[in-house]
């Protein structure tokens, strides 16, 4: 999900939902009060960041896939820690890899963090996986959970995009394109996650045992306790979203604007208040050029002056200095 496709209403709603989930996860972790988890989570985040960029050839397709890591983190660290780790990785990427964005961070944390940790893990993985790590059943549950998580995540992206209305991608064709692609991606993600967990189960079973142990301490019963507030938060978020969106839907008279524009154009008037929809005329082009001029001018004027002697001389030599470049 990217800032360029989100409206403030949709982005803000998902920010609120994700913030509620993160706050719940932080409270859950504080109750655990295990300071060993601090370096473990940090290093796990660095692992996911790096592992996302290691590509593996997918047999029979000629393409390659990589690990996403949401489900892996959830199985290894439990849902609360997994959500915080995923959030930190996505926040870093939003700041630095311009492909997500700060407004889209809420949506991305929801699709890639909340969904695997609080939906796929407790609702698919835990009921199906059984108690013994590394078995075939355990691996199958991992693959299925990854597929479910990615299907839900992809559905989320489609829903968020169409509700935002910035992109003109229509709902059903977009959905029909996204879900099969993410079925394939989910399979790769699931197979890679199952392979990594299987390897760990074979070579260092105590790592998985401690991971499982930390989430089944006597009297802790983490799943119901940490999931309920999150589900309540999600429900509240959904209601809020519904309310805000309803408000917006009634306030955004797309059809009305269009008909106003058409009637205005038919009667030869310019359309006040809808300059973006008016045909590209001389005023608009002139305005765009003037704005760009101001923006770049500001950039050059405000830039710190380095190498004063050079900068002072070069404007004074009007092309007579010969081809320097």
């Amino acid at each position: 999900m990217a800032d360029a496709l989100l409206s403030p209403a949709v982005g803000g709603t998902l920010w609120a939902a994700s913030a509620a989930a993160v706050a719940g996860a932080s409270r859950g972790l504080r109750r655990e009060a295990d300071d060993r988890k601090v370096p473990l989570m940090g290093v796990a985040g660095a692992f996911v960041f790096a592992a996302q960029m290691v590509n593996f050839a997918v047999p029979g397709t000629g393409s390659s896939g990589h690990l996403g890591g949401g489900l892996l983190l959830a199985v290894l660290l439990g849902p609360d820690a997994a959500l915080l780790v995923m959030t930190s990785v996505l926040a870093l990427q939003a700041l630095f890899f311009a492909d997500g964005g700060l407004l889209a961070l809420g949506a991305n944390v929801f699709n890639l963090g909340v969904v695997p940790a609080y939906l796929a893990l407790p609702l698919v993985f835990r009921p199906l996986a059984g108690r013994v790590p590394g078995t075939r059943r355990w691996a199958a549950a991992t693959v299925l959970s990854a597929v479910v998580a990615l299907q839900l995540g992809a559905f989320g992206v489609v829903l968020e995009t169409t509700l935002s209305g910035i992109s003109s991608l229509p709902f059903v064709p977009f959905l029909l394109a996204m879900q099969p692609i993410h079925l394939a991606i989910g399979l790769v993600e699931g197979l890679a996650t199952a392979a990594v967990l299987g390897f760990v189960a074979r070579s260092r079973p105590e790592v998985l045992a401690s991971a499982a142990g930390s989430s089944s301490l006597p009297g802790a019963e983490p799943a119901p306790r940490s999931v309920r507030p999150v589900l309540v938060g999600l429900l509240a978020g959904a209601l809020l979203a519904g309310g805000v969106l309803a408000l917006f839907a009634s306030k955004r008279p797309d059809g009305l604007e269009w008909s106003v524009e058409r009637t205005a154009r038919a009667s030869g008037q310019s359309v006040p208040g809808a300059p973006g929809r008016a045909p590209l005329g001389i005023p608009e082009v002139a305005g765009i050029l003037a704005t760009l001029l101001v923006v770049t001018g500001a950039g050059f004027a405000l830039a710190p002056r380095r190498r004063k002697p050079d900068g002072a001389r070069s404007p004074e030599s009007p092309g007579g200095a010969g081809p320097r470049r």
């Binding site: 496709l5 960029m53 890899f97 760990v200």
Partner: protein, 265 residues
């Protein structure tokens, strides 16, 4: 794997840029985080297919980058990386919507991307991860998440280098692409994971030995003074005004009437 090496390089150069000195660097990080957040929301709030009214918003990242001495080459290089992905999102509009509407739709998405992404990059390059984290903490983000962000960045480079070394070994031992498939993912990533796990153990012992009690101290000085207030108020007012008033349209109409007055048809 080129991408991981490039990502680590880019992060390093962003952190180096953040250690520079400029009026923008000196501002309290909270002021920059707040204005950047407002900026992103305002850009997103434009209706679909808005093109010209979005252009004045480029003023914010451009001015901050210029005042903050952020190299244009750094911004350009970072903006180009996800461009194919953004084009994939923007270009369908050319097919889905007829004629000029499609072009407006695609141009609007590209402009939104350029504006929001460069604002985030400029924030990072003038504030640094530690500065952003410190601002987030005092703006109410849970301590556990802020600590996690800081520890993540601290070990990103160590683990990234480890991954690069392991991948180089994997590539060198592979002939004709053998062993690079999904079957190798388990042992490769599993080994990387176990090494990370052990490293976390050592890190934890070292942290305990130095008196770690579960939280990282934030020693950055905080002062939300007159300069910060002016920065937040000034930019907020300007950005909100630019959101309400369509400056390019005004400029364009002014130009047309000027031409008309001068007798140019």
């Amino acid at each position: 794997m080129r991408s991981l090496a490039a990502a680590l390089d880019g992060l390093l150069s962003a952190e180096e840029a953040a250690r520079g000195e400029s009026p923008v660097h000196e501002l309290d990080s909270r002021a920059k985080v707040l204005v950047t957040a407002l900026f992103v929301v305002l850009v997103a709030s434009f209706p679909a297919r808005a093109v010209a009214p979005l252009l004045p918003f480029l003023l914010f990242p451009v001015v901050l980058a210029a005042r903050g001495g952020v190299p244009a080459a750094f911004l350009g290089a970072r903006l180009l990386v996800p461009l194919p992905f953004v084009l994939l999102l923007a270009l369908p509009a050319l097919v889905l919507e007829p004629g000029e509407t499609g072009w407006r739709s695609a141009a609007s998405i590209l402009l939104r991307y350029a504006a929001t992404a460069s604002a985030a990059l400029v924030l990072l390059a003038t504030t640094g991860i530690a500065g952003v984290a410190s601002a987030l903490r005092s703006l109410g983000v849970p301590r556990a998440l802020v600590t996690q962000l800081l520890v993540l960045v601290r070990y990103l480079f160590v683990l990234g280098e480890e991954t690069l070394r392991m991948d180089r070994a994997r590539q060198q031992r592979s002939f004709g692409g053998r062993g690079l498939g999904l079957a190798g993912a388990g042992p490769f990533l599993g080994t990387l994971l176990l090494r990370s796990w052990d490293r976390a153990d050592r890190v934890h012992r070292a942290m305990r030995a130095r008196g770690f009690d579960g939280t990282l101290p934030d020693s950055r000085p905080k002062r939300f003074g007159a300069a910060e207030a002016l920065f937040v108020a000034g930019w907020s007012a300007l950005l909100v005004a630019l959101r309400i008033v369509d400056v390019p349209a005004l400029l364009g109409h002014a130009a047309r009437s000027a031409f008309a007055a001068a007798g140019v048809p």
